[in-house]
Symmetry: C2
Subunit: 467 residues, 2 copies
Amino acid sequence: MKYVFNKTMNKICLAEYYEIYIFYLQRSPRVEGMDRYSFPEPEELAVLLDLELRDTGEPQGKLLKRVKDVAKYSIKTSHPRFFNQLFAGVDYHSMAGRFLTEALNTNLYTYEIAPVFVLVEAEVLRGMHRLVGWTEGDGIFCPGGSISNMYAMNLARYQLFPEIKSRGLWGLPRLTIFTSAESHYSVKKGAALLGIGTDHVILVKVDDGGRMIPEDLEEKIKLAKSEGSVPFLVSCTSGTTVKGAFDPLDHIANLCEKYMLWMHVDAAWGGSVLFSSKHRHLMKGVDRANSVAWNPHKMLVAGLQCSALLLRDTTNLLKRCHSASATYLFQQDKFYDVNLDTGDKSVQCSRKVDCLKLWLMWKAVGSAGLEARVDKAFIHPEFVNVCFWYIPPSLRGKEENADYQEQLSKVAPLIKERMMKEGTMMVGYQPQENRVNFFRVVAFSPLISQKDMDFFLNEIERLGKNM
Amino acid sequence: MKYVFNKTMNKICLAEYYEIYIFYLQRSPRVEGMDRYSFPEPEELAVLLDLELRDTGEPQGKLLKRVKDVAKYSIKTSHPRFFNQLFAGVDYHSMAGRFLTEALNTNLYTYEIAPVFVLVEAEVLRGMHRLVGWTEGDGIFCPGGSISNMYAMNLARYQLFPEIKSRGLWGLPRLTIFTSAESHYSVKKGAALLGIGTDHVILVKVDDGGRMIPEDLEEKIKLAKSEGSVPFLVSCTSGTTVKGAFDPLDHIANLCEKYMLWMHVDAAWGGSVLFSSKHRHLMKGVDRANSVAWNPHKMLVAGLQCSALLLRDTTNLLKRCHSASATYLFQQDKFYDVNLDTGDKSVQCSRKVDCLKLWLMWKAVGSAGLEARVDKAFIHPEFVNVCFWYIPPSLRGKEENADYQEQLSKVAPLIKERMMKEGTMMVGYQPQENRVNFFRVVAFSPLISQKDMDFFLNEIERLGKNM
């Protein structure tokens, strides 16, 4: 096949693509339900999409059908009835920033190819620093909160044992990390990847609200030390994944200071409360942390991926820990200030521009606009997560039955299956500790109305009432 | 400030944003030079962009100016005279896929929220597997080649010592990695992050063409073993960053089999030769590797980020090594086949959809179209990278002068400074081993014409002739 790159043809094609997905996007908030067909079986969907990659290309008409089908069979995560995840909704300013980022397609490693974005990233990080309560510091955008958390681990151990970078963990004592039993699983994933091992992540007890208990933390630090381990990091959580709990940072900071431990705050979900003068007390003490991970792609609706690691450090620790000083990329004899080449602070080489969309949205609505969104999303008594069971008529008043818990555990998965197959809305469920499957609803998208919340409750009732 | 989310207003705004960047994008290939103002000083650019994030939002008119300015002062990496990096150019199909990805804003961890993308990712990985020469296998898209390389390291050591996941590196013998002296710096960054340490990355000598010398590799493996280390991984390179060299995979595979080492191929840059029946011999033996990292965001112009890690493994190693089995996300009592929830193969939690753009482009031009692009980019005698010095008139015939090398080393940085300040084109330079600063030009964008290449050479001459 002879392939001719036809600019005109492709630009027309691009404009058509654009019309199609805007059509789908605009449509979704208006219709009842989530505007998709009943949840397709994978085999069926594979056929519908005609997935196969072939030797010859396809004409425009077929490609447009591909784009339509991708939009048609995808879950409309921007729909106000998508309550399934800690990201949802859409902000059109941010989306414009995302399209612009894609159109400009550059890489955040050197100032010479990303002058605007190097400055924008620094400005956004400055804005986030201020909200944390720092007048200076360092930071970087990472591809997701898990990797931001891993960075914190790597920095903490490097600060304690700089030789680790060249010599590895051999010859060093066993290092231990402390985090709450309800913290995000990325702490364990990070410990495994970094060669520390999941056994050396010590889980601290939580209170009924899911908050780390400082007294238990101190006991476990002492125990680890008595066993010859070297505690080096406490990973606190501001906004746990399931319950939305905020660990008591000030108390934990006292212990971190006492035992000279790196204090990391995984605020991937909860960090946005820092915008709210009414609710930021939930993170009181965050300014005493060494590092904070915060994902604006979650509650701030900045779009995937957008995760910042913020550091109190002013000694260039990030760069010292991660740099490899590649001469082909980070030439020292450039004509501009090479400190603007921030790429060597990263463990990545190519690094996507994740800051522009946040900057543009922040410019558009201001800190006050973001504060209003956060305040709107809050639910009494604390934060956004609401966890609940739906008790179907057949189980009401049967709490004493021997199989009550077992029967209850089947309710949420079945309601979820029904809502997926009908395509009316989406909400997540999970078991936790001794609690069988319960729903967790998170409602923070700026698109959500009272009507959507009413629909949500009625729909759970409708789908579950005959169980 | 009262913030009202005004859907209509924002949709209009989005359409306007779109028009603006398409205007800038379309304009860039038509004009002489790279269509930007002289390279701005950072302080000046910060003022021009009005970076500051404020309490109150901005009206639409100001926001549109922001978008225009971002486009105006950004480097036009899609311009045919951008030769600075291993990514460049633009493919409009891929760009449509990128916009669609942004519009649908979902996360590649569960089938329930990404049914289309789970299948698309699997299909693209299958297509890449076939090109490697495998009929089955595993794989995942990662945020960049460095992280793909780190995955390979983590998998290799986990296969050898599965207990590492829970117990960490303590109690294990020193592990060593082998890679060529001209391999990418991410091998060292990965070794540091994974707790192995950069000292345990053994650099193998290269021949004049920059290819790993298998005899030296074998000697170094033997030496490491004799010193009590445990060699576990050889990271070969297909397409080195500077010279574009291809390590002799078949020879290295023999050694990996002999010493039972994991064979990883970092084909981030060179992997695209697998599309070319004429040139794929450069990677002969790749089917014997355990893992291959390949970045379609480079030569295939898929757009940042797009990096695949391909595995020969069929034992679910990827998931066993990385899984944390979070019950809130990877519920086992779902109504569909939970093997479709691929998220636990990743060390990330949120994972951006990086496969759609590649799938759409591949559908549009076919394997044959991609082959033609690769073939077009090739330069005799091998691959795409061309490294050269420009010798200015004042240095010609002065090779015997004591300060010749020192003077020559200043030529490329100065020409680079001049081209940046005039904004006519961009090309990278670097020193390597005993060679002082030289240019490396890579020309693979489908947009490049003969005229652009003529311009390139004349422009180097014009900028350097008075030195």
